[in-house]
Amino acid sequence: MSECHYLFKSCILGAYYPEAERCLRVVFDRLDTQYVDDPAQSSCTGHGYHSGIYPLKTTLEVNRRNFSLARGKGCDDIVTSCVTSYATLKEMKKLLKDPIKIYHGLEVLYEHRNEILRGLKYNLEGIKVVTHHGCHYTKIFYDDVKAGDPERPVLLDEIATSLGGEVLDYSERSLCCGMGFNHLLLDQEYCKKIARRKLESIKKVNPDLILVHCPGCLLTLDRFQGILKQEMGLELQIPVLNYTELIALLFGVASDEIGIKTHHVALEGVIERIKE
């Protein structure tokens, strides 16, 4: 990884969970990790690309510009806060034969996991966690998964354990969260059925929180709990946290600064227990 990362911001976080993204900057600052936050960086088109609304040529050209912006800022790697950006940029880099390197923010924090421990104000002792790694991180460029097996990635697990938490297994661990790209923006039948399968399997092991590293997974696993309750009477109420929010919280960043108001499922209860 290079000295200075080009921070690649996510459309979903920007629109729906802006503080979750701000937390990545906060954590980088605490760890003295250098990054460039360039307002000129555009969307990678990823969500639309996988929905079928951008031809390959458009996605290639849009990201040719993003790659050259990163280089112009002196960065030879890009660190994304979204797993679909991660995979889309990797695919375009490959097709364009561009030398730039692409990482996900979680990989950077995974590398720094020991330094994170030194900055902790709170830890996860007594907290039961399940993890969900985003499909576009584990299943597309599967050889690049940093820890564990592509069928069983463990970056989030190892981080949660080192923070003192207990990681629980669940039967639908490798199932998609249900976001489904075009499905999310249309009738959502896929989203509801898959999110239900996933969340019911999680509910069986009764964790205190679901730990994710993908904006789409955060949105789906958090917001569909409300939709499933409203439409099917399902009582789930399992807090979902992005890894950036969790680490910022454990560093002592105030609850409203990690954006608890943007979450559908209330986080107050689990935060209180963490701070006990």
């Binding site: 629109a15 729906y16 609304i53 040529k57 299943k139 249309l186």
Partner: protein, 166 residues
């Protein structure tokens, strides 16, 4: 034999000519069904299966696939891509087919609504999602992106879908 049979069909040739088809084992599919076994969308939609998409392609029924609903039911989770024992990627093939289907003028109803949201936001603000006051590109950067969208054929793509640009 199978390679020949596919090569004969112009529409399948277009699939194979896509840049993304270069290193996927599209023609090595042995119809084992492992992709479908792990496919979440196949569990939701009775008439959908990635194995079947591959079967139609191998049989040269590409045009039917392009006209039909099947390619729009995939959730793009890439489980099939990870698990295929022959290194094939139904998920990638489906993306290629989606683009081809729209190029032929089919499936407009499947994406018009999404393109009218995300595509137009990309055009105006350089992002796919936007809520009041959320992150958007500064003007100069937004013009650069708009220019790239226009030059890469995206304006024409949206027009063909019947999406009006502001």
């Amino acid at each position: 034999m199978r390679r020949l049979a596919i090569g004969k069909k112009i529409s399948s040739r277009e699939v194979l000519e896509d840049l993304r088809a270069e290193d996927i084992g599209l023609l090595r599919c042995m119809q084992c069904g492992r992709c479908t076994g792990g496919c979440p969308a196949a569990g939701v939609f009775e008439d959908f299966s990635p194995r079947l998409v591959m079967h139609e392609l191998i049989e040269g029924e590409t045009e039917n696939v392009l006209k039909g609903d099947m390619i729009w039911k995939c959730g793009q989770c890439y489980t099939c891509h990870l698990r295929c024992p022959r290194g094939n990627s139904p998920a990638t093939v489906i993306l290629i087919l989606r683009e081809l289907s729209l190029k032929r003028g089919y499936s407009k109803d499947k994406v018009k609504e999404i393109a009218a949201k995300c595509g137009v936001l990309m055009w105006k603000k350089g992002v796919n999602f936007y809520e009041e006051g959320s992150r958007e590109l500064p003007d100069e950067a937004a013009y650069e992106v708009e220019d790239i969208l226009r030059r890469s054929g995206y304006e024409a793509f949206l027009k063909a879908l019947g999406v009006d640009l502001p």
